[in-house]
């Protein structure tokens, strides 16, 4: 460090030393970082148990320095339910992509939300199956081309993209739902704040907390990271607006 300067930001200790293997510019990496920053800042590493999904973030446990369980495809909400019910004073999160949470795991997601399971969903919605090579997801936008919708998603054939944050905010026992993004420094700061809120509400046992991330997938979208940010602004946010859908009453907090 240069003389006369002080350290104001460094990589959190709650990330392992392993180099994060996501593609350049992918928000998965950003969200791993923010999540682990929140765990570090709240001082809850010893009390945190995570669940990772099947999809690009299948290896999340290589990067997050907390106890973790790797779930079967779509079942992270059920696994997190099992953990939280046995260890109600721990901070439990499930980290899932759109294929995992909103296609194969929809039943587990909705029922965990309906029961108000007191854990935090971190839902990465990038509109595509990244790990398997860019196939159509339940969240692929109308007209968006993927390897299994090569002529663009046709709503007549396959319906419209699922709006999970909107859906889960309907449940009585879901305490907090916000859709965030990491496309600008300001939005990234908001995303971190949302994660922090979710964990704090979880600590107060207010019910299910659900953070959806309108994410990019530069490789799957066949774009540069910069182009992916434009696509987010122009195409994704109009359909998937960034906002707080539900938050606890001031009294509860």
């Amino acid at each position: 460090m240069k003389k006369g300067y002080k350290l104001i930001y460094k990589r959190p200790q709650t990330l392992t030393k392993t180099r994060i293997n996501y593609c350049p510019g992918c928000f998965h990496s950003t969200m791993h970082k923010l999540l682990m920053e929140v765990v570090e800042e709240m001082g809850i590493q010893e009390k945190t148990v995570g669940v990772c999904p099947v999809g690009c973030s299948v290896f999340a446990y290589n990067y997050m320095n907390v106890d973790m369980q790797e779930a079967a495809h779509g079942r992270a909400a059920a696994v997190a339910t099992g953990i939280k019910r046995m260890l109600p004073d721990r901070y439990v999160f499930s980290y899932q992509g759109d294929g995992d949470l909103a296609a194969i795991g929809t039943a587990e997601t909705l029922h965990a939300c309906n029961r108000g399971e007191n854990f935090t969903f971190v839902f990465i919605n990038n509109g595509i199956y990244g790990m398997t090579g860019g196939q159509m997801a339940p969240t692929t936008l109308e007209g968006q081309k993927t390897t299994t919708s090569p002529y663009g998603r046709d709503p007549e054939k396959i319906g419209l993209p699922l709006k999970m944050a909107e859906i889960v905010s309907q449940f009585e026992r879901v305490a907090y739902v916000e859709r965030v993004s990491c496309n600008t420094p300001a939005n990234t700061r908001k995303a971190k704040k949302a994660l922090r809120n979710a964990f704090e509400y979880q600590g107060k046992k207010l019910g299910t907390t659900f953070i959806e991330v309108a994410s990019n997938c530069p490789s799957g979208w066949k774009m540069t990271p910069e182009q992916s940010l434009k696509w987010l602004e122009e195409r994704v946010f109009p359909y998937y607006p960034l906002k707080v859908f539900k938050k606890p009453d001031k009294k509860e907090v």
């Binding site: 300067y5 002080k6 996501y22 700061r189 540069t224």
Partner: protein, 80 residues
């Protein structure tokens, strides 16, 4: 007067995604396209050392937590 600072970039973690460069309000960061790290990837570097204002935009947006930020002492702290 804006704050003064500097950043250190762990070039082995950097993947050259350019998000920090795009987010820097003073254009003091750039992508080095004449060299690569050991993974064969371009990496970002602090091009204009005097222009860094320790705003942390780069470290906030950096997906890979590759950027460490330092700020000159005795200056009001920016929000993190």
């Amino acid at each position: 007067m804006p704050a003064k600072g500097y950043v250190e970039i762990d070039i082995e973690r950097c993947k050259g995604c350019d998000l920090c460069v795009l987010s820097c309000p003073t254009d003091c960061l750039a992508l080095n396209i004449s060299d690569t790290n050991s993974y064969g990837l371009y990496y970002a570097y602090l091009k204009e050392e005097d222009d860094c204002i320790a705003c942390m935009n780069c470290s906030v947006i950096c997906p890979d937590a590759a950027i460490t930020v330092y700020k000159k002492e005795d200056q009001p702290k920016q929000r993190s």
